[in-house]
């Protein structure tokens, strides 16, 4: 498997795709950093979380804040790394040749998945390091130890998030013979979970608990139902977990709050332990989603016919 891993890594790092993704990532970091620099001065950041402010200031409209941009681009990187993992080898005729060598079939998938995660980690790691480095120069406030831990956890969370999208794309590259199909379906799912899920969730919630002439309690239940549905989206899971990690001040709870409740909220930062506790279910959900995709591609691939045509 090391031979496969080595080859896949070499492939990734010499491919045009990698260069494009890297450039895209640099662009996103630059835009995010610029947006943060515009917004950070006007934001009232609590003591001890000034550095994290780099990642969380809403920035300027249109561009959104850095975590939103990252939540947008990381799935694309994951999909780009995985959508043709198996079916390009199938159409290229190399799969027949490789699988007639004395290796287990799973080592092909494992090798590709691992190489993808390494590549992904390098990209996301570089991105966060770059932003931190430039941010440090920009605001001149060094991160506290807790902020460093939070950023590191954010890095891990983001890699897991990217790994999920890669596993999903690899699954489609195993199931579908055509490269175009696996790409389109992966992108379609990404689009659905990033935009349409919000509309769908609201529509379903409204169908069950109408908002016309609703009491306060009903409105809350409507909101909670909608939120529950949107939590089936890995993107929403990731965004909530990000907020829990990076914006410990405002979040407090990830549940629904009415306007009146918000007014009473005391800006009381969550401790690191509480933050971790808060995002733990999100983290495990993301990991199990990735594992499900990975296991499914594994099962399908093990029994698939490998014909060179």
């Amino acid at each position: 498997m090391t031979a496969i891993l080595r080859k896949e890594l070499a492939d990734y790092f010499t491919s045009i795709r990698f260069i494009i993704l890297f450039a895209m990532m640099l662009g996103v970091s630059a835009v995010g950093l610029w947006a943060a620099s515009q917004g950070i001065r006007n934001t009232n950041l609590p003591e001890g979380f000034i550095f994290l402010g780099l990642f969380t200031t809403p920035g300027i409209p249109l561009f959104g804040s850095l975590p939103v941009l990252i939540a947008l681009i990381v799935p694309l990187i994951g999909i780009a790394l995985g959508f043709d993992a198996i079916n390009s080898e199938r159409t290229g005729g190399t799969l027949s040749r490789v699988l007639s060598q004395p290796i287990y079939r799973d080592s092909v998938i494992n090798g590709k998945f691992l190489a993808g995660i390494v590549t992904l980690s390098i990209m996301v790691g570089t991105m966060i390091l770059l932003i931190s480095g430039y941010g440090l120069r920009m605001i001149g406030v060094p991160p506290t130890a807790e902020e460093i831990i939070r950023l590191f956890m954010y890095l891990v969370l983001t890699i897991i998030y990217g790994a999920f999208w890669m596993a999903l794309a690899i699954l489609f590259s195993v199931v579908l013979r055509r490269i175009a199909s696996s790409l389109l379906i992966s992108l379609g799912i990404w689009l659905f979970f990033s935009i349409f899920i919000l509309l769908v969730a609201q529509a379903i919630a409204n169908a069950f608990i109408p908002t016309v002439d609703a009491t306060q309690a009903e409105l809350v239940r409507n909101g909670e139902l909608a939120q529950m549905i949107t939590r089936t989206s890995p993107i929403v899971l990731y965004q909530e977990a990000t907020r829990g990690l990076l914006t410990p001040v405002v979040v407090g709870s990830l549940g629904m709050l009415t306007m009146s409740q918000v007014a009473y909220m005391i800006p009381n930062p969550l401790s690191l332990g509480q933050s971790i506790l808060l995002i733990w279910p999100h983290l495990t959900s993301l990991i199990s989603l990735s594992l499900i995709c990975f296991a499914a591609s594994y099962v399908v691939f093990m029994r698939q016919e490998i014909r060179a045509t």
Binding site: I4, D11, G92, S96, R97, Q101, P102, Y104, E305, I306
Partner: protein, 322 residues
């Protein structure tokens, strides 16, 4: 399981959605022989080969390659078997040597030996240094990526790829397609040498004369069933002359006495005369005895032929009848 069969299948069957494409096939390939797998398009040759390699699962029946079951012991089988697919594909962004190295690594060839083995197989298939190298200036010599190879060059690289693991059994699915005449000759010579090096060859092809040149035994598949199996000579005699040899002797004005004498030779059946030629049907190859008899009777022996059967005849005869 007897040891002398490199490949043995028992009732091997493959169905796709209820359609049977390989039908209870019993295939036997002896150690160190070249076996030709023939049959029209869609007969099930490639499917059979895939089952031998464990690249698809049989619906029924079993296969054995050197005593191992390809479905249950794929690694052992793949350590011994080299496979050239119908359509061979390489990593186009890598050079020929890099592609071969990768396969050698997957086979666990010792690191120090890989380079030497790569050169060895490249030479065996006649990929010259000039073909492997980029057409650049002599100062900066670089190797060409496989993406820039011609169809036939890729095909040769495919053969090199099969040989690099030093396989016990080689399975070649239409190996001569895309090769030029010289390349075909080189490949056929190479295939003919393999049994001497302890390698069994299974060859699927539509080029009957090529098969005839190198194969010891053949099997013809039709609609997933083995319809003819055996050595070419024997099959030819069975198909064309009811299992007998047919020897033709040209002399001058043969007479009754000559015919009588020939007929008394043990093993000779029917003798017919056509002008200056005797057409003799025999049980075994009696050319030596017959020629001696003719000369002893003081008849000139101008020419003597034993009828040879071409694979074309066998193939066409079978598929005309059905």
């Amino acid at each position: 399981m007897s040891e002398e069969f490199a490949i043995e299948t028992e009732g091997l069957t493959k169905r796709y959605d209820g359609v049977t494409v390989v039908d209870h096939l019993n295939l036997h390939v002896k150690d160190n022989e070249v076996f030709g797998l023939l049959g029209p398009n869609g007969a099930g040759k490639t499917t059979t080969i895939l089952m031998l390699l464990g690249l698809t699962e049989p619906s029924e029946g079993t296969a054995r390659v050197c005593g191992y079951n390809p479905t249950r012991e794929p690694i052992q089988v793949k350590r011994l078997i080299g496979y050239l697919p119908e359509k061979v594909g390489f990593y186009e962004n890598l050079t020929a040597r890099e592609n071969l190295k990768f396969i050698a690594e997957l086979n666990g060839v010792a690191y120090g030996e890989i380079g030497r083995r790569v050169d060895e197989v490249l030479e065996m298939v006649g990929l010259t240094e000039a073909e492997v190298m980029e057409n650049a200036s002599a100062a900066r010599q670089r190797e060409k990526t496989v993406g820039k190879y011609s169809r036939g060059m890729k095909q040769r690289l495919g053969i090199a790829d099969v040989l690099i693991k030093k396989p016990k059994v080689v399975v070649l699915d239409e190996p001569t397609s895309g090769l030029d005449p010289k390349g075909i000759n080189q490949l056929l010579d190479l295939i003919a040498e393999l049994p001497g090096m302890g390698t069994t060859v299974v060859l699927s092809s539509h080029q009957l004369y090529q098969v005839q040149r190198v194969c010891h035994n053949i099997g013809i598949l039709s609609k997933g069933k083995m319809v003819i199996e055996g050595s070419i000579d024997q099959l030819g005699r069975e198909a064309m002359a009811g299992g007998r040899f047919s020897i033709e002797v040209e002399t001058v004005e043969p007479n009754e006495a000559l015919i009588k004498t020939v007929q008394t030779i043990k093993g000779v059946g029917d003798v017919q005369v056509e002008e200056n030629r005797l057409l003799i049907s025999t049980d075994t190859d009696l050319r030596a005895e017959i020629s001696k008899a003719v000369v002893q009777m003081d008849f000139p022996l101008i020419q003597m032929k034993i009828q040879e059967f071409s694979l074309d005849d066998i193939y066409m005869k079978y598929f005309k009848e059905n």
